[in-house]
Symmetry: C2
Subunit: 548 residues, 2 copies
């Protein structure tokens, strides 16, 4: 079954694997010659890995992979169920065509073992957790301990990324009916450029069933995204159970469009098993009309319902109760408090609120600040780091808690201002990273740069990453995945790979993205054609997945 | 946890279950009062079952279902892995919100056991297999053996339908955090109106990954569709492996957009486990250009490639080889030979073909008939019953093998003509049942009638059913499900339920279909909004799944 004799290459392998770091960068993707992906003449010299790893070298051997690939673990974290379950998932993906070939009798495969070394037994998943990994692939040889596949990482989350990359190096060869790993030996040292790589889902405008959210999380892991920003509730509906205030989910669209606390915990756990944090959002004081379905007292009046009534202590009791209940579900250190699009009309026009403002010598704008800061205090008292949409920073930056993470959305230029004042920032410029903007094609997403306008290294450090946002006015369970993919992948590479790798000079980007889109579809994800100008449009005619 | 005391209803239950058949039809859905499905005020007296069962009675009890529901099987077919695997699948569906509640300690559920009785041990899945089942649900009682859930069927395939219906009777109650079964006791006697209830998929215009095809099959089973018509190859691409002629899948779009024979067998088996037959199609002599990528000799000439060269024996050798190889994969008795849209230009303009026609004293039309009949002979020699698109019947009905199943598509009126001549017919009138026609809304699909224009009972018998067709010019992995659902469900009820149940007088249809669409999304299927006029359009704004 061998397509080449790897033993004769032993010395080469050893040299590659243990050569100086100068050598590590010596062989890269051939950026000059991407080939047309049509009719079987695909360029096997291209590594179709998405997002592109940080540093890597590769060779020209083709190795076969045993469908009975065994897992051998080492290190304090090696025996984690997070590793073993991921191994089982990726085995299904890598060997999807080999289900009836599992006996493997008589076949001598190059790669029969996967060694996973995880140094730390700490499985806490927090912002900045070490996601780096090293992946080495070489033909085994009895004269050497080097051969086989080895993933080495400090944490289980780095190991997960290593497994994903490994899965992308493998492909089923329809000719020999074996899984092959091309361009070995590989030596990959990888890590993310940004520690926060997010996707927003909005389950208020349209309820997303648990099964769909799990599909989204699963697909995020394929692109190495690591934060699911769950905009759970908004003015349209309140699907989440809050045990302390059990009437709140009366604000759900129907009695079936709800999440129990167990459902939410299950989603958090499902995401953690895939290295993804869930950041919940409670968007106050605007975007909260649905709260009043269960507790009308939080509306300034039945006819004027937003923002939440700033004059009542009950409003803040409710926020305290919601956040305390949610704290039991969401262990991630960041919690989003919204704070966007607050219009003061109801405060100024409702007599008792107007009176309260006068009594406290506040303008409505003062009350907005008062509200946001009081909500921040509640979150901070629960040991959460508050995240707020940029309007809070734009309106009263100097009063914000300095721990606040400023979430950009209105346009460019806010992160530079925020980090100049010492705040951390998340980039989501709506012109390029709001996926509900269907007229933003993949390359506009791809070439957006979170550090634009920030040159000082210490300020750059404060941009913790970015997030693509999928507001759900016209997105529901039926079209969510095809609206976010492949564009979310474009942002994922921007947030993971070296800035210079993800440059317009890199002509491998489009074929790799087309390949990744088809990889998603092979894994059952409804990723839309890459080259349509408008997102989620159907293919314009018959053709290969790899060129649409 | 009881919402009512079922023991006091024992006598009533016994009466319902064992009363005369007159009683069986005595309680039906209240067709007069469907209620608005908004904000939690859903009508619990409505049974949201799709497609509507044949005969049923129900009560007004609400019963709780044990998350540790156990399976007890009886009969020659009860121990089938088809039953036990389906039970596991449906348990996951029914108890999706109860994963952390599996201890069930201290809770006294009404329904703790599912009895499945399958009389026949014969698992052969063929056209006309007995798909009927009886489903009885009543509170258990120590004084009686009647209580619990019982599915009785002659075959495992009837039992599968019973499980699907059972799953639709259950719903998670977010208030009590238990699964409830409403409107018990239930007594359902169900069977399909038509034995052939198909969906066409087209993997030539766009390749559908195995994972996506499995999702389609899984979703078909929810609507009790039972034939996957797999239009595997066409002029655009040839993705299937044919061992006897290994160059044929050179006609695939890329080396990755292929199905091995093992892949195809796996799909057939996956479908069988869900009671679905796979009918393969080899569409000759038109729609076959891609064959020539590997074997250019089947083209009349390199510049004139369709229909296949009628003058060469090699063409028929190739068909024989393909069909013999496919026979090992596809056990279903029906095999589709296409025969549509044959244009004679290449035969009349290519010198050696023209000469052959003259030598054999044939017109091109004669040659079309000769080709189709010779292909039929090959299929029949392999013990297949040939299916052909209606052009073959329209052009040379009297020459067709009388076993031929005529597949209507061009419009209405063909099935009446075909059955009048003794042929069997499948209804797929493109004006209503071609799902690639995006301007056909759900109700046009729903009210199409396969027996239109056929009054004679023996002729009606010859219409074996119908099929919705999803031609894939603009449908790929990204939008397949949202293009077919919910419209395929509309056809599914037409093909399953009593004609009078599926009438425009039945005002439960729309709320039930909206409920079924949301049921699909809860199961992870990308079913599009029901009420959009154009198929696969996004929802027009925020709102509940149940009213879009």
């Amino acid at each position: 079954m061998y397509s080449s004799n790897p033993r004769s290459n032993l010395l080469f392998v050893v040299l590659i694997l243990f050569s100086s770091s100068l050598l590590i960068n010596s062989r890269k993707l051939d950026l000059k010659q991407p080939q047309q992906l049509d009719h079987g003449h695909t360029d096997d010299s291209l590594a179709y890995v998405w997002p592109l790893p940080w540093d890597y070298t590769f060779g020209n051997q083709t190795l076969t992979v045993d469908p009975n690939l065994s897992l051998v673990t080492q290190g304090n974290g090696g025996h984690s169920v997070i590793v073993s379950e991921a191994f089982d998932r990726y085995k299904k993906i890598i060997f999807e065509h080999c289900s009836s070939k599992l006996d493997g009798s008589g076949v001598d495969y190059h790669l029969t073992r996967l060694n996973v070394i995880v140094h730390s037994g700490n499985e806490e998943l927090q912002l900045g957790v070490d996601e780096s990994y090293t992946l080495m692939v070489a033909a085994r040889d009895e004269l050497s301990v080097i051969g086989g596949i080895t993933i080495e990482a400090n944490t289980v989350y780095g190991a997960l990324h290593g497994l994903e990359t490994l899965s992308q190096l493998c492909a089923f060869d329809y000719g020999t009916k074996t899984v092959k790993l091309f361009n070995a030996p590989w030596y990959i040292q990888d890590k993310p450029r940004f520690k926060y790589r997010g996707l927003l889902i909005d389950t208020s405008r349209h309820y997303l069933p648990i099964e769909i959210i799990k599909q989204v999380i699963e697909s995020m892991s394929y692109a190495k995204l690591n934060v699911l920003h769950w905009h759970i509730i908004d003015e349209e509906s309140f699907p989440l159970e809050v045990p302390t205030y059990p009437k709140l989910w009366k604000g759900s669209y129907t009695k079936w469009e709800r999440y129990t606390t167990d459902d939410a915990s299950e989603i958090v756990n499902f995401a953690k098993m895939r290295g993804i944090n869930v950041m919940a959002e409670v968007d106050v004081p605007g975007h909260a009309e649905s709260w009043g379905k269960g507790y009308p007292d939080v509306w300034p009046s039945p006819s004027c319902r937003e923002p939440l009534d700033v004059s009542k202590n009950f409003t803040f009791d409710l926020i305290s109760g919601i956040l305390a209940d949610m704290r039991k579900i969401f262990p991630f250190e960041l919690f989003h408090l919204g704070g966007d699009e607050v219009h003061y009309d109801c405060w100024n026009s409702t007599p008792h609120v107007k009176q309260w403002l006068q009594d406290h010598n506040m303008t409505a704008k003062d009350a907005y600040q008062y509200f946001v800061l009081r909500a921040q205090e509640i979150a901070i008292s629960l040991k959460w780091t508050p995240v707020n949409w940029e309007e809070t920073f734009n309106t009263f930056a100097s009063s914000l808690d300095p721990r606040t993470v400023v979430h950009n959305w209105l346009g460019s230029g806010v992160c530079p201002k925020a980090v100049a004042k010492g705040f951390r920032c998340v980039f989501s410029n709506q012109g390029v990273w709001y996926l509900d903007h269907l007229d933003v094609p993949w390359d506009s997403v791809y070439y957006a740069e979170p550090l634009e306008g920030i040159t000082d290294a210490s300020e750059q450090e404060l941009v913790i990453g970015g997030e693509v946002c999928m507001w759900a006015e016209t997105a529901d369970a039926s079209n969510f995945q095809q609206t976010i993919w492949p564009r979310a992948a474009a942002a994922a590479e921007r947030l993971w790979s070296k800035k210079e790798s993800a440059s317009s000079a890199n002509t491998t980007v489009l074929p790799r993205l087309e390949y990744f889109r088809c990889l998603l579809t092979r894994r059952g994800i409804q990723a839309a054609p890459v080259t349509n100008f408008y997102a989620r449009r159907p293919p314009s005619g018959p053709g290969s997945c790899y060129s649409q």
